[in-house]
Symmetry: C2
Amino acid sequence: MADKNLQKFKDVLRSEHLKVTPQRLAVFEEVCSTDDHRDADDIYLSLKQREKAVSRATVYRTVDLLLKYNFVSRIDIEDGKWRYEHWLDCTRHDHLICVRCGNIVEFSDKNIQIREKRIAKSFDYTLVRHVLNLFGYCSDCRGK
Amino acid sequence: MADKNLQKFKDVLRSEHLKVTPQRLAVFEEVCSTDDHRDADDIYLSLKQREKAVSRATVYRTVDLLLKYNFVSRIDIEDGKWRYEHWLDCTRHDHLICVRCGNIVEFSDKNIQIREKRIAKSFDYTLVRHVLNLFGYCSDCRGK
DNA sequence: AGTTAAACGAGATTCAATCTCAATTAAATT
DNA sequence: AATTTAATTGAGATTGAATCTCGTTTAACT
Ligand SMILES: [Mn+2]
Ligand SMILES: [Mn+2]
Ligand SMILES: [Zn+2]
Ligand SMILES: [Zn+2]
């Protein structure tokens, strides 16, 4: 499962004439190790803690690479930091974010996606990407 | 129209025991002068050019204020800068953004909003805000 | 006019992200 | 297996939007 994807990553690197380096593999493996939505520094610190230290610059460079080749997706919860999540199952989804505790729930709504396409078409735009974030209070945080 | 809103702004300032300063009025007036989606520095530079210079710090402070009291809305087109637009008519809308030229089209879809509420409810979240941005190529930019 | 707390401006600071460049290393070539 | 070559790395510098600091100014109340 993860191994198969690791292989896919290596294949992409090779086919793009990019080097298969221990640092790149470490970042890939770290990103795939949880379903969390983490920023570059979270990933950097996790690797460091696990004695698989990779420089911050390389973490940034590698997540960009993973993004480019669709191994991760990136979300922006408007706190000034990009967050990354692995994309192993390729299930498109959007996010519902608690404005107090930061908890993130994932959802997917086919009907909204259809309407988005229709909207883009009506303005003669070719849709390439969408961002749908819902912000609110989770049940734990509702009563402050 | 704009005058009526300027009055409303002054009233809010006074009711909140905030001072009605030339700088705040200048930023308010500048923000309301177009329907564009501009970042703080755009606003700063426009004011400067019009010989109504206000410091950058004050522009930032004032757009925060305008946001807090709902005179502007803020959008994030993921280029690292907040953009502001006046909120005179209070029409809720979302944005369709050209990834090449940056052109922004506004739209509103009641049905999507209904579905969003339903989704939030299903996860027991109290919705406070949403972000819906569609990214694509406009008709001018489609053929590169 | 005098008082006072809020607001201002200039410049310092923060912080995520990117860049620079010398040293290292993956991998293609002998 | 050794050599060559170009990509990659890490340390630290840089960028740029946004925020903060702090001494000075000013709106607004008396
Ligand atoms: Mn997710
Ligand atoms: Mn708008
Ligand atoms: Zn919460
Ligand atoms: Zn365009």
